[in-house]
Symmetry: C2
Amino acid sequence: MSARTGLLETPHGAIETPVFMPVGTKATVKAMTPEEVERLGARIILANTFHLLLRPGDEIIRGLGGLHRFMNWPRPILTDSGGFQVFSLAKLRKLTEEGVEFRSPLDGSAVFLSPENAMRIQENLGADIIMCFDECTPWPADFGQAMESAELTARWAARCKAAHQRADQSLFGIVQGGVHPQPREWSARATTDIGFDGYAIGGLSVGEPKYDMIAMLSVMDRELPRTQPRYLMGVGTPVDFVIGVENGIDMFDCVLPTRTARTARLYTNEGLLNMRNAEHAANPAPPSSSCECYVCRNYSRAYLRHLYMANEILAPRLGTWHNLHFFLSLMENIRSAIRDNTLSGLKQRVMMVYGQKEFAGDQRD
Amino acid sequence: MSARTGLLETPHGAIETPVFMPVGTKATVKAMTPEEVERLGARIILANTFHLLLRPGDEIIRGLGGLHRFMNWPRPILTDSGGFQVFSLAKLRKLTEEGVEFRSPLDGSAVFLSPENAMRIQENLGADIIMCFDECTPWPADFGQAMESAELTARWAARCKAAHQRADQSLFGIVQGGVHPQPREWSARATTDIGFDGYAIGGLSVGEPKYDMIAMLSVMDRELPRTQPRYLMGVGTPVDFVIGVENGIDMFDCVLPTRTARTARLYTNEGLLNMRNAEHAANPAPPSSSCECYVCRNYSRAYLRHLYMANEILAPRLGTWHNLHFFLSLMENIRSAIRDNTLSGLKQRVMMVYGQKEFAGDQRD
């Protein structure tokens, strides 16, 4: 049992782990003010280098005093490197040993990302934790492809470490290698040999079956050093949280609570609700009678359904509030359960409500 | 000089007048929580009978305890009667002495509104102040049309008063008659002869030149009793506020601050800003350095522009916050100025900034 609690120190404060990081892609956690995100218990958020590079541009943000000041968030921030988005969002990309050239989806202009300028851009943004520029191994990938991707990511990781200058920013390496144990092991060793402040597991939750992800998590748990933070990128669901924590994961980020809120899906201890369903039309009950969040204390299912049906801005606001409360509270409960040695009971309750749906692969419907 | 301050008592609290009522068309002031609307200083809001009748339906709202509880707003509410929207939004309407039949813009079903069921619907919604069902005189309308519209509105007003049952709800009459003095005078006398708790001026700010509106306001000031509240419906701009107050108006409502915020227009003491303009791209200054609202204390023009360009939900949130602060503060300043006998100075400052633009008729661009 590798589950653990910890304290991650950053220039903008310490973070209790395991931690869930809400995603603020474009320097805003969608629909929320920073004060609300803080009031909900978030202590670190993620912002996306790729999106901020394209708009408003990292130089603009640097000129305005960096990302914390730009978006009025005084607590820790982690930026990804842009690698994931280059490979999943940008069309017409050209990959060489040097880096990746692609066309901006906003205006078609040519943009080049490499280990060196991914470091420079993230230094301009000024997050507390920055990430190596990696090649996200696609799924499916055969053994050879996975190995090549792990090797390129390792060569780029060495260049990132060499280019990294700001001592106030922690730099994390990223392990790739698809769902094949050997490339994953090789990648973990190569990355730890270079040596980073923390280690991220990339390339999971990209379409592979959940049992493949679970298998890779146990490989990673064996290979990654216990002395440094471990970050499972872009994951996950309530079930992923308990499985990840069991495998020694300390940090998670995912758009799931914020994105689902915008399509009227609310997470509760009793299951996932679709607030557009007609069954809620006259229901005076809150989304969850066991939830003590602002939304559940003040609004009925009927009112929330009305807001969603009318496409009112208050709908995604209240939905996001509730879902972030659910995800952040779940992670708080996980931390307590680790300390109290009751994680297996919590895992069982999460599995009972969300296990079947998630293992069927439809948690993002 | 008819400007006056007052206190309007309602079952949900007293309201200092002159007052600006933010518009919560579909039981939400767009982009805002009720707590935020209250924190900004709003003490009464308006909700629209037409929209709530069509969705979610007045019976649903009644079943959930009425509009206050449905939308979590514990302070006073005023509902319009649906008349304005029937005549401006609904196609395929059929007007008879009995009422108006129209097709729902949502699903095409047949809906009938009359004085009697406008009363019943507003009783189901449960606002503190409800409005007579009127025919909004269109602009332009010739003398004969304006007189006919005023006469029909008066006959309907008598039916509204006869049908009105809930003693805890105040009922206001509406004066129509276009921009012709005689129909306006006739309408004011006919409406006050029936006798209501307050009197509204309808059919202005519907496209007519501003000097026509000003002329009608002075006619109304002469004709309406000073003993009861006067409400200028659907108005207005900063300039309209000072002109209205000078003519004895006590209550205003308008979508202007909330609607313009969604298209990136911010009102400031220095003029109207378009936050999408490129000039703001790297500007660290707040929208207004003379403004002490939450937005101006915490965010740069550069960040706001970024949010608007990226179509982030936080953009209309912050814009609405700022604009409502501007409108509600302006009305607070107007109340102080009336008490201190300094309204002419305040009017001059508003005219210097907004007069030219508004008299050119492009304040809603």
